[in-house]
C-alpha cells in the first residue's frame, strides 16, 4: 500500500478501502495530539496538567464509547472520515468535561498566569468558546456539542469574551501609549 498507516495526519489522510482497525484509531488519536494539546492548555494552563488531561480524556473516551469504538471497527470504508470526526469531537468533549471538574481544584496553581494575561483571565466557558471559534474550524453546532450548551448560550459566551478581549486590548494600547511604546 502506497500510503503508510503511520502517516495518518488527520481526517483527510485516512486510508481508503479498508475498515477502521484499532491500530488506526490509535494512530489517529496520536496524530491529533497537537490540536488536543492546544485545547487542553487553554482549559488548564499548565504544561503537565494539560498533557495529563489529554491522556485522561483518551481513557475516558475509550471507556465511555466502547460500543461506538467497536461499531467503528466494523464499519464500512465510506464512513471512515465521519468516524474520525466523531472520535475528535468526543475527545474534545471528554477533555472539556474533565477539565471543568479539575479547573477549580487547580486554579490556585495558575492564578499568576490568569492575572497577567487577558485571554487566560476570561471566564472558563468564555475562554473555551472563544478558542474553539477562533482557533479551530469547528462549526457552531460542534462547539455546542463539545460545551454541551445551546446556541444562544454559546453566542452569549462568545459575545462576553469578545467584549472582554476588546476592553483588554484597549487597556493594553492605552498602557503602552502611556509608557511611550508603539
Amino acid at each position: 500500500m502506497a500510503r503508510s498507516r503511520m502517516n495518518l495526519q488527520g481526517t483527510n489522510d485516512w486510508p481508503l478501502s479498508k475498515k477502521m482497525k484499532s491500530i488506526e484509531l490509535q494512530k489517529f488519536i496520536q496524530n491529533i495530539s497537537a490540536e488536543l494539546y492546544s485545547f487542553a492548555f487553554i482549559l488548564i494552563p499548565d504544561d503537565l496538567q494539560a498533557s495529563q488531561l489529554m491522556i485522561d480524556s483518551v481513557s475516558v473516551f475509550l471507556i465511555q464509547n466502547k460500543p461506538l469504538v467497536d461499531l467503528w471497527k466494523k464499519s464500512s470504508d465510506v464512513d471512515l472520515v465521519q468516524h474520525s470526526e466523531n472520535v475528535k469531537r468526543h475527545l474534545y468533549k471528554a477533555m472539556y468535561e474533565l477539565s471543568k471538574k479539575r479547573y477549580n481544584q487547580l486554579r490556585l496553581s495558575f492564578k499568576n498566569m490568569e492575572d497577567s494575561s487577558g485571554f487566560f483571565s476570561l471566564n472558563f466557558d468564555d475562554k473555551a468558546a472563544l478558542f474553539l471559534q477562533e482557533r479551530t474550524d469547528f462549526p457552531l453546532e460542534l462547539i455546542q456539542f463539545i460545551l454541551d450548551k445551546t446556541e444562544g448560550e454559546i453566542l452569549a459566551h462568545l459575545y462576553s469574551a469578545r467584549i472582554f478581549m476588546v476592553n483588554f486590548k484597549n487597556h493594553v494600547s492605552n498602557h503602552n501609549e502611556g509608557l511611550g511604546i508603539g
Partner: protein, 120 residues
Amino acid sequence: MLDIPHDREYYMQMRKHINTCGTCDLALKNFEQENFKIKIYIPKPQIDNETKDNFKNEVSEIFKSLHLNEKNLLRLKIKKNIKRIDSFGIDLIEVFTSKKMITTYAFAGVLFVILKRFFN
C-alpha cells in the same frame, strides 16, 4: 453578528436592519475591526516533542490495557491457546500415569503373558 451562522433566520433579520440603519452599521463595523485586532491575543499553544512522544506512549499503553491493540490481542490469544494445548498435554500425562492406568497396565501385562503361554 460575528459568530451567528448566516443561514439563521435571526441573522437575516438583523442583517436587514443593519443594512438600513447607519448607526448600527457603523457600530458593527467598529466592533468587527476591534475583534479582528484581538485575534493576536488568542493563543494557540504548541506541543513540544517530549510531550508528544509521552502522549503517544501513553495512548499506546491505554489501548493495550483496554485490550484494543490488535497485535497485543493476537499475542494474548496465541499465549492462551498454547497454554490450553499445554494443559491438555499435562492432563494426558496425568491420566496415563494415574493409579488406575498403572493397574490397567499391570493387568494387561499379566493377561498378555497368560495368553502368550496359552497360545504357545
